[in-house]
C-alpha cells in the first residue's frame, strides 16, 4: 500500500509540473503580444515603442521563453504569482480572498450531491423498473441536461423574486452571520450539485445493477441474509468503485461550474474572479487561478486514487 501511495504522489508531482508548463504555454504561445499579458489593452496603445521595450525588459519578456518559464516557476515556488494589472494588488492576495469561498461552496455541493445521489442510485438499482426508479431516473436525466446557470436563473425567479424566500445575490461568510450565509448559498449549492448529483445517480444505479447480477450476491441471498446486509455489505463494496472514480471526476466539474454559478449569483469566489480577470485581460490573475485550481484537482485526485486502492485491493498491485 505504501509503495502504491508513494508512486501516486510521484506521478501527481510530475503532472503538477506539467500543469505549470501547460498554464504557461496557454498564456504565452497563443497568438498575441506577450506584453499584452502584463499590460492592459488601453495601456498598450498608449505606450511608445521604447517604453514597450522597457516593459518587456522589466518583465523579462526579452529573454528566451524557457528562461521566462523557469523565472515564473521559481516565483511560483516562492509563492509569488505576480501583480494584478487592473486592481494593482498582489495576485496571491486576490486568490487568498476568493479561494476559501469557492472551496467552501464546492465542498458543500460535493458532499450534498453524493450524500443524496449514492442512496438514490442504490434504491433505483434494487427497485429497478418500479416507480421510484422511473422517477429518479427521469430526474437524473433532466438534471444532467439542464444548463446549471439557467437552473440558477429559474431558482432566482421562483424563490427569490416570486416567493421572496431567499436572497438572490452575494455571499456572506458563515462566521459572520450563519443563517444569512446558509440562505445565500442554498441556491448556488443546488445549481452546482445538479450535474454531479445526476451523474452520480446514473453511475451508482448502473454499477449496482451490474453487481446485483453476480453469483456471490445470489449466494448471499440464498444464505438467507436480510436485504440490508446483502445490499450494503455485499453489493455496495464492489458497486461503489466506479462511483468513487466519478466522485473524483466531479471535483473539476464543480470547480468548472463555479465559473458560471458564481457569476450568476454574484459570489466573489475564484470563478467570478477568473471571469472578471479574463474580461479585463488581467492575465496574471488568470494564470494564478488556473494554477491553484490545477493543484486542488491534483490533490483531490490523489485522495481519490488512494481511497480507490483502499476499497479495491486489486488496484494496489497493478
Amino acid at each position: 500500500m505504501s509503495a502504491y501511495i508513494i508512486r501516486r504522489i510521484f506521478l501527481a508531482i510530475i503532472v503538477l509540473i506539467l500543469a505549470t508548463l501547460v498554464v504557461f504555454v496557454i498564456m504565452h504561445l497563443l497568438p498575441g503580444d506577450p506584453v499584452l499579458l502584463y499590460l492592459s489593452k488601453d495601456a498598450y496603445s498608449r505606450f511608445t515603442p521604447e517604453e514597450l521595450a522597457a516593459a518587456r525588459h522589466e518583465y523579462g519578456l526579452d529573454k528566451p521563453i524557457i528562461i521566462q518559464y523557469f523565472n515564473w516557476l521559481s516565483g511560483v515556488f516562492r509563492g509569488e504569482l505576480g501583480k494584478s494589472i487592473s486592481k494593482r494588488t498582489e495576485v496571491t492576495v486576490e486568490i487568498s480572498e476568493a479561494l476559501p469561498i469557492s472551496i467552501y461552496i464546492g465542498i458543500v455541493a460535493w458532499i450534498i450531491s453524493h450524500a443524496i445521489a449514492i442512496p438514490a442510485g442504490i434504491i433505483c438499482a434494487i427497485r429497478r423498473g418500479k416507480w421510484v426508479d422511473t422517477i429518479l431516473t427521469i430526474v437524473a436525466n433532466i438534471g444532467i441536461s439542464a444548463p446549471a446557470f439557467w437552473a440558477g436563473i429559474l431558482l432566482i425567479y421562483i424563490f427569490g423574486l416570486y416567493l421572496n424566500w431567499l436572497p438572490i445575490f452575494g455571499y456572506t461568510s458563515p462566521l459572520v452571520d450563519f443563517w444569512l450565509s446558509i440562505k445565500k448559498i442554498i441556491m448556488p449549492v443546488f445549481c452546482l450539485s445538479l450535474t454531479p448529483l445526476s451523474g452520480c445517480i446514473r453511475q451508482t444505479r448502473s454499477a449496482m445493477l451490474e453487481v446485483i447480477r453476480q453469483d456471490y450476491i445470489r449466494t448471499a441471498w440464498s444464505k438467507g441474509l436480510r436485504e440490508r446486509v446483502v445490499v450494503l455489505k455485499h453489493a455496495l463494496k464492489n458497486g461503489i468503485i466506479p462511483v468513487v472514480t466519478l466522485a473524483g471526476m466531479s471535483i473539476p466539474l464543480i470547480l468548472g461550474g463555479e465559473v458560471l454559478i458564481e457569476t450568476v449569483f454574484g459570489i466573489p469566489g475564484m470563478g467570478r474572479l477568473a471571469v472578471n480577470a479574463l474580461f479585463s485581460r488581467d492575465y496574471a490573475i488568470v494564470q494564478g487561478i488556473v494554477l491553484v485550481v490545477a493543484v486542488l484537482v491534483v490533490a483531490c485526485n490523489l485522495i481519490v486514487d488512494i481511497s480507490y486502492a483502499w476499497l479495491d485491493p486489486r488496484i494496489r498491485y497493478d
Partner: protein
Amino acid sequence: MLRRKKKLTQGYQETPPSVSSFQHFRRVFFSRGVVVFGSIVVMLVILMAVFSPLIAPYDPYAQDLDNTMAKPSLAHWLGTDTVGRDTLSRIIYGSRTSLIVGVVALGLAAGIGLFLGLVAGYFGGITNLIIMRFIDTLMTIPMMLLALTIAAVLGGGLTNVIIALGIALIPTYARLMCGQAMAIKQNDYVTAARSIGAGNLRTMIRHVAPNCFPPLIVMMTMQIGITILAEAGLSFLGIGINPPGAAWGAMVSEGYRYLTTNPILSFAPGLSIMLVVFAFNMIGDGLRDALDPRLRGTL
C-alpha cells in the same frame, strides 16, 4: 410418443432465433419511449437549423423599436426582446449555433483525442507514458475554465470557441481510446495481422481502430450534450458568437437582466438548451444499450 418428446424439451429451443445485428440494434434502440422521443427531437432540431430561414416567422436580426419587450401573443409566440426582435425566430436561428459548435468542436476533440489515444494505447511504453501524462495534465484544469481561458485569450468569436472547446474536450477521448486500443491490441487477429507483415500504421488503422468504435460512438453521442452545454455556458458569459448573432446561452444572459419584467426571454432559450441536450443524452443511452456488448441480452 411425439407428445411425450415435446413435453421433455419444453422451454428449450434447439436454435435461437437468428437475429441480424442490425435488427437487434433497431429492436433494442427503439424499445424505450424516451429514446424515440430523443431521436424525434434531434431530428426536428436538425431540420430547424437547416431550414431556419423558411421556418422562422421573422428576421431574427430585425429590430422593431415600436414593439419591444412584447409579451407572448399570436403575432410573436414568445414575445420580443429589448430591441423588438422576435424571440421565437432567434431561438430557431440559435439552434444553428448550438449544433455547429456542438458537432464541429466535438469532431475536432474526437479527431485529436482518438489519434493520441490510439497511438498511446497501440505503442504503449514510453509513448503511452508521455502522451497520457500530457492528457492527465489537461485534465487537471476543469474543462469549463480551460475552454473559457483559451477562448478569451484567443479573443472570442465562434471559431475561437470551437477551437477552445475542441482542445478542452480532448482528454475524454484520448483516455477512452487508449484503454480500448490497449485491450484490442491483445487479440489474436492483431497478432495474425502482424505476422502476415502488416506494418504499425496498417495494423492500427485497419485492425485496431475499427474494433474500438462501439463505445466511442456511445461516448461521442453523450458528449454532444456536454459540448452544447459548454458552448451555452461560454456564450452565457459573453464569449462566443458576436452580438447580433443568436446563441441560446447569450439569449439566457440577455434575458436574465429583464427577469422581473419579461422572464420568458431567459426561460425559453434555456428550455431549448435543456431539451436538445436531453434528446442527445437519450440517444446516447439508447446507443449504449444497443451497442455495448456487456449489456446485450439483459434487456
